[in-house]
């Protein structure tokens, strides 16, 4: 019997999780490049606190956590967590488009495999509670 389609709320929240993860990773990389070179971890941390981009990253982290907890309210962890691997693809796409990263056959194969994997995951039921009718 085919698994029921995931609810729209879950699809939207997973899409938001991937978008937030992408934004955090790209902004983190941009922020790290703006930090002055220092040998001390504490000095680097203090410098980061004065960078608006890191404050934005911190805010996005909080939003990401809240969103992720909502995702887990309505889906299995073993369903949703692998689907967020699509952020590897979106980060790569942003890196190519805006940061000038190169594309080669190996990376295209990697993207294809991630998409194939997510397709298989999406074919399994999104929630054990939903499938069995049992309360979480």
């Amino acid at each position: 019997m085919p698994s029921p389609a995931p609810p729209a709320a879950l699809i939207l929240r997973l899409a938001l999780a991937i978008a937030l993860d992408t934004a955090v990773q790209v902004l983190w990389k941009l922020g790290a490049e703006q930090l002055p070179g220092t040998a001390s971890v504490s000095a680097a941390a203090e410098a980061a606190l004065h960078q608006p981009v890191f404050l934005l990253v911190a805010a996005l982290f909080c939003w990401q956590l809240v969103n992720w907890l909502h995702v887990l309210e309505i889906s299995d962890l073993s369903y949703s967590q692998p689907i967020t691997s699509l952020s590897f693809v979106s980060v790569f796409a942003v890196s190519v488009a805006w940061l000038g990263e190169s594309v080669d056959a190996q990376k295209v194969a990697g993207i294809a495999l991630v998409f194939a994997g997510v397709w298989f995951i999406s074919r399994s039921g999104h929630s054990t509670a939903e499938d069995t009718g049992t309360a979480p």
């Binding site: 956590l65 992720w68 907890l69 887990l72 309210e73 299995d76 962890l77 073993s78 369903y79 967590q81 692998p82 691997s85 590897f88 693809v89 790569f92 190996q106 990376k107 194969a109 990697g110 993207i111 294809a112 495999l113 991630v114 998409f115 194939a116 994997g117 997510v118 397709w119 298989f120 995951i121 999406s122 074919r123 399994s124 039921g125 054990t128 499938d131 979480p136």
Partner: protein, 110 residues
């Protein structure tokens, strides 16, 4: 044990700790009381693994650490099955295997 080996083991340990943190987050969604306790414990583990991962990068290249870290998908599946009683079906395992392979290919030149 070489420093590289220690770094690789630390990355694997980080993946396990992150997997446990994810299970704690899921537990918070399953309980009706003390949700904050489960979430707080998960956040603490996340911070600890982030610090340990940063330390591991002193010993191994990002291009090595990233593909190894993708075993986190496998660890989460195992923990979900054992600790949350989620049905990790053959379809899910095939998907996870493909994702780990894909992430490894994407990250090998990171």
């Amino acid at each position: 044990m070489t420093l590289t080996t220690a770094g690789v083991l630390l990355v694997i340990l980080c993946s396990i700790v992150e997997g446990v943190a994810q299970v704690l987050f899921k537990k918070s969604a399953q309980v009706t009381r003390r949700k904050a306790l489960w979430i707080g414990a998960g956040i603490v583990l996340f911070i600890l693994q982030a610090l340990a991962y940063t330390g591991a990068l002193q010993f191994v290249e990002v291009s090595t650490a990233f593909p190894i870290g993708s075993i986190g998908f496998v660890i989460v599946a195992i923990l979900s099955r054992r600790m949350l009683n989620e049905p990790v079906t053959a379809t899910r395992w095939i998907g996870i295997a493909l994702i780990v392979a894909g992430v490894s290919l994407l990250a090998v030149h990171a």
